[in-house]
Symmetry: C2
Subunit: 328 residues, 2 copies
């Protein structure tokens, strides 16, 4: 029987949900490699491993949460259909999932979404509707649309089933590496780190979870410092996947309070250097959000000498324009 | 008991060696994903799959052959040590392998090898010696050095044990996909396509094997046409991993005669477009040689409508300079 937990779920509830998610989504997702980085290890004196969600289907971890959500819909929900809003990794992940099921759906995108992103989603055959030029407005409209039509709105992070899906990365990490000391992961809405943190700490409470954010958009880090979710202006960042505000009352706020030991902020130059490093030494394409996690580790590496460190490369979806800008 | 076969080996001998190689090297290599390309499939009307050797350890298929060779050394050979010459994927693959065993070794590189490539190999702790500025001269010197010191020279392609290692890609393909019609793979020395072709045809003789080369360096294709290995001038190509001449009496010549159904040549612009396509739609970094195979498929796609096509992305190791040039 599928139960739906509330925001007050305990760590053990969440662990149970993550294990259940793993069972559900396993046939649809990749167990991504955990790559030992000889270069980063030599450079820092740590034992450094990269969790390659950049190699996940659709190029980001988001398919984990999207599949869990889709697979947990009941018959009525399935027949009424789902709605989401995203021009990025979440939209691509949901579209990839929908391509494998027959569920009515609409993905709302802002009018000014890049044509590459629109095309990449369109290939999965999911109806796209354009609304406004602003992502926040488009999201609000999509949520309202879902309510009015009694459809399920799939949030990119503010949903325990989505978070449980992301947490399956933690299950793979525990299988892939013994005695992990510290995990670095990016934080936008906080879905990734909530899931991974909850699972890892339920098994080994001593594992340190480091939330990594760009200085230009440090919303969750500042919110945790303030003790409540802040509405704050953010500046453009290479880490577009983690940029922007957090919904009021997002359940990830409490989860981050519980499971994130420390937040580290990085500059745009540091993100850029991290992206270049991975291209040069590992020949992976990574997006800004992955660069944030790596940059935060490199910046603080001295504190982790001789420790086993995992850096989550959360995604690969960098635009050619951004790549060109970085290389020049 | 390990037997060493000669150039006159039959397809069934080679199949046996490839199966044995798979057994040997499996703990050390990745079963790389076979990624269905929804975009390429829509674009061409074929069912297109990408064999992602760009995601193999060290970023190319070469670790397969390198490991097989290293694991098949007998005690005397191990104690005397190995020699190779390469500033590219083969060198990196051998260094990666040596890092896990205790075998005396030298990797010869040309004096003008790029510092990134030298650094990437140096991290594996294998002694590097520099010799001359020309790769062909460096290779000849390394072979001679090995002979004088009774060490084993590891050729990047002219060696049945290396070829058997590369052939393990064929085993994975047969496991990953039913009823393959056609496989596109790049051809330099011919080690990759000989191994993959021999294995696939030993199981399903009707599978078509297409050898893909840059117009600027079509040595094997021209040699097969001529009926003997040609010494010919080549021009610079984005596909540096397949560029250059073939050793006289290379065993891959006969193997290509037997197992390659057709050769397709592509221009530098077509290679460039293929690299861009993969970055944009799959968010993988691929090197020129991978681009050659994809470009050859795209150019001839009409002939394969409704067929199941595999394109081998042989490697990821593109330099940042090359990438920058392509993006501009």
């Amino acid at each position: 029987m599928i139960t739906t937990r509330t925001a007050g779920s305990s760590m053990m509830d969440l662990k149970t949900d993550i294990l259940a998610a793993d069972n559900c989504i396993r046939p649809f997702i990749r167990e991504t490699p955990l790559e030992y980085s000889i270069v980063l290890s030599h450079m820092t004196g740590c034992e450094v491993y990269l969790k390659c969600e950049n190699l996940q289907h659709t190029g980001s971890f988001k398919v984990r949460g999207a599949f869990n959500k889709l697979l947990l819909l009941n018959d009525e929900q399935r027949s009424r259909g789902i709605v989401t809003a995203s021009s990025g990794n979440h939209g691509l992940a949901v579209a990839f999932g929908l391509n494998q099921f027959h569920i009515p759906s609409i993905i709302f995108m802002p009018e000014n979404a890049s044509s590459t992103k629109v095309e990449n989603i369109r290939h999965y055959g999911v109806p796209i509707e354009f609304y406004e030029k602003d992502m926040m407005l488009t999201e609000a409209y999509a949520r309202d649309y879902a309510k009015r039509h009694k459809m399920v709105y799939i949030s990119p992070y503010n949903d325990l089933q989505v978070i449980s899906g992301q947490g399956t990365i933690g299950i793979e990490l525990m299988r892939q590496l013994d005695a992990i000391d510290t995990v670095f992961a990016c934080v936008g809405g906080g879905g990734l780190i909530s899931g991974v943190g909850a699972y890892l700490k339920s098994i080994s409470p001593q594992i340190k979870i480091i939330g990594c954010l760009p200085e230009n958009s440090p919303v969750m880090a500042e919110s945790i410092k303030a003790g409540h979710i802040l509405e704050m202006e953010t500046r453009p960042t290479l880490s577009d996947a983690t940029a922007g505000g957090i919904e009021p009352n997002a359940i990830t706020f409490n989860l981050c309070q519980q499971y994130v030991d420390e937040f580290n902020l990085v500059t745009e130059d540091e993100i850029e250097a991290a992206i270049i490093h991975i291209m040069q030494c590992h020949h992976f394409l990574i997006e800004g959000a992955s660069g944030v996690a790596l940059a935060a580790f490199i910046k603080n590496a001295e504190r982790y000498r001789n420790k086993k460190v995992v850096v989550v490369l959360s995604g690969a979806n960098i635009s050619l324009e951004t790549l060109k800008m970085i290389l020049n």
